[in-house]
Amino acid sequence: MKAKNIVTLFFALLAVVALISSCGGVQGNVATNGSTSMEKVIGVLSEQFMNDNPNVNITYDPTGSGTGIEAVKNGTCDIGLASRALKSSETGLVGTVLALDGIAIIVNKDLSVGDLTVQNISDIFTGKITNWKDLGGEDLEISCIGREAGSGTRDGFESVTETKDACILAQELTSTGAVISAVGSNKNAIGYASLSAVEGQDAIKAVKVDGVDCSEATVRDGTYKIQRPFTLVTREGEELSAAAKAFFDYITSSVANDLIRQAGAVPVA
């Protein structure tokens, strides 16, 4: 009898605690809008944040960086998401770098070429250089492997190397893993993949770009060229709502670093 009472008391207490904790904290809606490439990062972060703060609802509209910036300017969303830095013409807004997206250029591990310039890479993917021997490698025709239209990695790669719409590909694959295994089994191949996905892969190697290794450190200090910032865009001189501010502070703090890494980006906090 007594034991039963204690159990009941325990559960009652638990219920009260749960009630109190859910009453406290922030509540409200946070609308984010913008870059499709940031879907994974924002997805992971908002999921964790909504778990910790059940009264907050975070929405994400994958419309593209330009639209996201436009939306935050018009006030139709709280935080705009851009997978590039703000342009000088985009005034009245503040950009905060959430993370960096490093894109590794990968080739087969047996290929003797290990160092390319951004120009080389752009020439390879647009079909101006078609043989590895032109770059000091073996006499092998180059086979370019890319990602499907709409992929964030493709968008990032093509915008940094300025090859938008101009890539001549031999294969267009639908996942990072497929690109890595295709490059790993083909000595002619060159491809690109998120930095985080390349680590620990034996069949491939990430080439140096302009003499710089591709690593978290070189992405963070900016010496590795093929990267872009994931930027949070807010209105200048205007307070965010309590919920949006809590979310913003959370994702830009170092607490979120592991989650950002998990989503394949390089944290900066």
Partner: protein, 289 residues
């Protein structure tokens, strides 16, 4: 007692009816959904530009699916050209020529072949076949139409073999005995009597293989390169099915791109319906004879 029996009978009949309706409902729902979601894009792009447009570039809003249609037709035709003789000869061997023991072993293997999931075909194709093709034809990339055709050939083989085999076994013994008694050799009998008598079953098996080949996506997306080129045997190509798979995950909801993907689905659906209609026609003709 009798009344009780009647109730049970009624109850089960109802259950059977519901099960039957469920299948019909699914087909209807899918057809209607495909029509509703597939037509807007076709209307916006224009039927001619959609079906016969040679360029698919979704980032530039160019949605012509001619390369996909041709690739699907070429790929399926290639698989049939390679698979049909191989399949029919195997079926003849199994039904007529093989010693029972060996026939059983081969039969088990064929059944296993049919049971392998298509993603495994794709994976094996990607890691074994593609590098092999690349090496023997000295290409820069082995992911091409030829690889896809080879994978499809192996995938449709079990269908052709097992359906043809059944048809060949059903040929009345008297036909063959009569032929042998007239002095024809066994080979002559098989080719001139058995195959001819089993014709409608064999044709049905081929059509079934075509249906399987044209609807396959998972296996060939991994070996075909998946670039929206006009088909060429050593070129990277994209099929109707793989076109949907490869872009669906990124197509924004309500965008023209997404709608166009549904329209591809509609075209594919019509292809499959055509093939099914053909199959029915052939099997009906076969049973009327």
């Amino acid at each position: 007692m009798k009344n009780h029996k009647g109730t049970v009978e009624y109850f089960f009949r109802l259950i059977f009816l519901i099960c039957g309706i469920a299948a019909v409902f699914c087909v209807l729902a899918i057809s209607v959904y495909l029509l509703i979601s597939g037509i807007p894009a076709i209307r916006e792009i224009g039927l001619k530009d959609f079906l016969f447009g040679p360029v698919w570039k979704s980032e530039r809003n160019q949605f012509g699916i001619l390369p996909f249609i041709l690739t699907s037709i070429y790929g399926t035709a290639g698989a049939v050209i390679l698979g049909v003789p191989l399949g029919i000869l195997t079926a003849v061997f199994l039904a007529k020529a093989a010693p029972p023991r060996i026939a059983e072993i081969i039969h088990t293997c064929v059944e296993l072949l049919a049971g392998i999931p298509s993603v495994v075909y794709g994976l094996t194709g990607m890691t074994v076949l593609v590098p092999f093709i690349q090496k023997i034809f000295n290409l820069s990339s082995g992911a091409c139409l030829l690889s896809a055709i080879l994978v499809l050939t192996v995938m449709i083989l079990p269908y052709i073999i097992s359906v043809s085999e059944t048809a060949l076994r059903a040929v009345p013994k008297e036909y063959e005995e009569a032929s042998l008694a007239l002095g024809a050799t066994k080979t002559e009998t098989w080719f001139k009597i058995s195959i001819r008598a089993a014709r409608s079953g064999i044709i049905a098996s081929i059509i079934q293989g075509v249906g399987r080949a044209i609807g396959e996506a998972m296996a060939i997306i991994m070996v075909s390169g998946n670039v929206a080129n006009m088909p060429s045997i050593f070129g990277s190509v994209r099929f109707l099915t793989t076109a949907i798979v490869s872009e669906m995950s990124y197509a924004a909801y309500g965008s023209l791109q997404r709608n166009a993907l549904f329209s591809i689905g509609l075209v594919l659906f019509l292809f499959i319906m055509l093939i099914n209609g053909l199959l029915r026609l052939v099997s009906e003709r076969g049973s009327n004879k």
